[in-house]
């Protein structure tokens, strides 16, 4: 801990960051976080429009969110889909990361690229293709359809985070475990799993958040009987002009931030 601080002081002493660069960075930083700053006060507004600055102070929007069946059902659907999709993506992604670990051949590189390709494919292209195929497969507007599509786009995130956890994993521990009499699967349970559990957990959370927050595919897969929270938020802006979205936004932002902090906390505890 002492070494970096010393180098920091040296950096500043010899070659400080000029004041105008600091101001520039502060302005850009504000631009980064500006939207988040607007969501929270909006959620306490009493107005029935999106007007800003918000008028009055009330919990009306929150009350509306938690009493309106449409909002509640959408939330429930989102949680359900995100949980199942994250579970599926985590199992598939973790297995794939283990299978690809330390493989460097052309086949392995191809498989890795294939698994990552959905991350760079524009969501709209995927959404349209998936929508048309799912129409034929009768998966539009079903939990199964949502879960499969969201699991597929969640896999790369799990793959990346588990692969990076495996990067810090000493493969000699596998040999040590084998020499001590543990067959490969026991070794996986007693050594590999505990040591990459943080990577798996991180991947699972990413997959969950990715699904929970996914709009584009969800918009195409929605049906009158089944839609997720982001779709309902989309409706509330385009069709209903319903400021309940402010409460919903604030709740989602807060929840995601909380998850972030939990991740940080888990990270700290592991390190010490």
């Amino acid at each position: 801990m002492r070494a970096p601080r010393r180098s920091l002081r040296r950096d500043r002493g010899v070659d400080p960051v000029p004041w105008w660069q600091k101001i520039f960075v502060a302005v850009v930083g504000l631009y980064f976080i500006l939207p988040t700053l607007f969501v929270i006060p909006m959620s306490f507004s009493t107005a029935s429009t999106f007007q800003f600055p918000p008028r009055g102070f009330s919990l009306k929007l929150y009350e509306n969110f938690f009493t309106n069946q449409v909002w509640l059902t959408s939330l429930r659907n989102s949680v359900l889909v995100a949980l199942l999709a994250a579970l599926l993506a985590t199992v598939a992604g973790t297995a794939a990361a283990l299978g690809l670990h330390r493989l460097t051949g052309r086949m392995a590189r191809f498989a890795r690229t294939l698994l990552m390709v959905s991350i760079v494919t524009p969501a709209i292209v995927l959404a349209v293709a998936v929508y048309i195929s799912f129409l034929k497969w009768h998966l539009v507007g079903t939990v199964t359809g949502y879960v499969l599509a969201h699991a597929a786009i969640g896999v790369p995130f799990v793959l990346v985070s588990v692969t990076s956890a495996l990067g810090g994993f000493d493969p000699r521990l596998l040999r040590a475990s084998a020499s001590l009499g543990a067959p490969p699967f026991r070794t996986f349970l007693r050594v590999t799993m505990p040591l990459i559990s943080r990577g798996i957990l991180t991947g699972a959370i990413f997959a969950f958040v990715t699904s929970f927050d996914e709009v584009v595919i969800a918009l195409f897969l929605r049906a009158p009987g089944f839609q997720t929270l982001p779709v309902q938020m989309y409706n509330s802006v385009t069709v209903e002009i319903d400021p309940t979205i402010a409460a919903s936004s604030s709740l989602v932002v807060t929840a995601v931030t909380a998850v972030c902090l939990v991740l940080q906390f888990v990270g700290r505890r592991r390190k010490s």
């Binding site: 000493d170 000699r172 040999r175 040590a176 020499s179 001590l180 009499g181 543990a182 067959p183 007693r190």
Partner: protein, 389 residues
């Protein structure tokens, strides 16, 4: 390096050996496993095989060191014994039973790694209990054995500590405890002291010797450090380029090397490369030297290149030829430098017309020698050795 510190038949100083014997782990018993390698070959498809037809029998309870430079195949051989690599050809047998196709977790071998390979998420006690839990021993039995073995490696009371909180030496003791707690057929040690500093190394060398004596099982030790090999081993198998160059006791390897590689790898030597017929003499530059057939390696092929090697402690310095005793071989030399080694000094020599590099250990009396002096170097005929070059 010290050429005198050879393990002798009976341990000269072993205060700990008979003092305490708590429980089965520490009971001295020569019940080790014989490990027989026959034509063992590992080929990765590179220019030359990593291990090429190695045959070696490691006797029960023996401390065998696989010594060699990096890339010589010693680690691959150890990994083949452990089952981490599959054989390309040949076979490996423990006590006569073929284990060539047995996966590592069924070979019942303890293994010590250079980086300790302790499980970072388990405590010291959990690490040591790991192989016992795999063997489904009852809980009280596990607890008893763990505390016994931790006592053996002098780590009592550190049960609940995590590996990261221990020093390198302590971590290696934990690894050692974990590797012997389940009474393995043999203990494989893959440069276990490589990551430790000099003082700790010698302490742990003694420790490993002691535990070898007390446990009595077969130890196979891999190192590239010849001094470490000399200090620890009953026998050394010297590896070179995927093959075994020579097998023998440390003393045999040092005193009677068969090849130039062995002579050079173990200890310093002055080397004269020369042609050798099979007579009682050999010619080098202007010199003609007497050769005692008893000092000629069986691997020297008459008529081909050979090398005459002499250890520094056998080389003497004389002012001129007249001071050389009769019957000794001599060569003219120039002193390049005198190195102060603490207990003694070493003269760095340039020998003959070609200025071949040589070394001679100096007595305290020879303190008047200095760089630039022209002298004569000599040695007794029975202290030289002719090896295959």
């Amino acid at each position: 390096m010290s050429a005198t510190k050879f393990p002798t038949a009976s341990p000269t100083a072993s205060p700990a050996a008979s003092a305490t014997a708590p429980g089965p782990v520490a009971v001295p018993r020569r019940a080790g496993t014989q490990i027989r390698l026959t034509g063992v070959t590992k080929d990765y498809g590179l220019a030359s095989p990593a291990v090429a037809g190695v045959s070696l029998t490691i006797e029960p309870g023996e401390f065998m060191t696989l010594l060699g430079p990096s890339g010589s195949g010693k680690t691959t051989t150890l990994n083949l014994i452990a089952g981490f690599e599959t054989l390309t050809a040949g076979s490996i047998a423990f006590n006569g039973a073929d284990v060539s196709r047995l996966p590592p977790h069924k070979r019942n071998l303890g293994m010590l790694f250079q980086n300790y390979a302790l499980f970072p998420h388990l405590t010291v006690a959990q690490n040591v209990a790991y192989p016992l839990r795999e063997r489904r021993l009852p809980k009280p039995e596990i607890a008893r054995r763990v505390s016994e073995v931790l006592e053996l490696v002098q780590l009592t009371g550190r049960d609940g500590t995590y590996p990261a909180q221990l020093s390198g030496g302590q971590q290696q003791r934990v690894a050692l405890a974990r590797a012997i707690v389940f009474d393995p057929s043999a203990l494989l040690l893959d440069e276990p002291l490589g990551a430790l500093d000099r003082n700790l190394r010698s302490t742990l060398q003694l420790e490993i010797r002691r535990i070898h004596r007390e446990v009595g099982s077969t130890f196979v030790f891999v190192t590239h450090d010849q001094e470490e090999a000399m200090n620890l081993s009953d026998r050394i198998a010297l590896f070179n380029d995927g093959r075994i160059e020579q097998v023998g006791t440390p003393e045999a390897l040092y005193q009677t090397p068969e090849t130039l590689f062995t002579a050079r790898f173990l200890g310093d030597s002055t080397v004269f490369e020369l042609p050798y017929g099979d007579g009682a003499g050999a010619a080098w530059e202007d010199e003609v030297w007497a050769v005692d057939p008893a000092t000629v390696s069986a691997r020297v092929v008459a008529g081909s290149r050979a090398a005459l090697v002499v250890r520094p402690e056998d080389v003497r310095i004389a002012a001129d030829r007249s001071a050389v005793p009769s019957g000794a071989n001599a060569v003219s030399a120039t002193i390049r430098d005198v190195e102060y080694m603490g207990a003694y000094r070493t003269a760095v020599l340039a020998l003959g017309r070609g200025g071949v590099a040589g070394r001679a250990r100096l007595d305290a009396l020879e303190s008047d020698l200095g760089a630039g002096q022209s002298v004569t170097a000599w040695w007794r005929v029975d202290r030289q050795r002719l090896v295959a070059a």
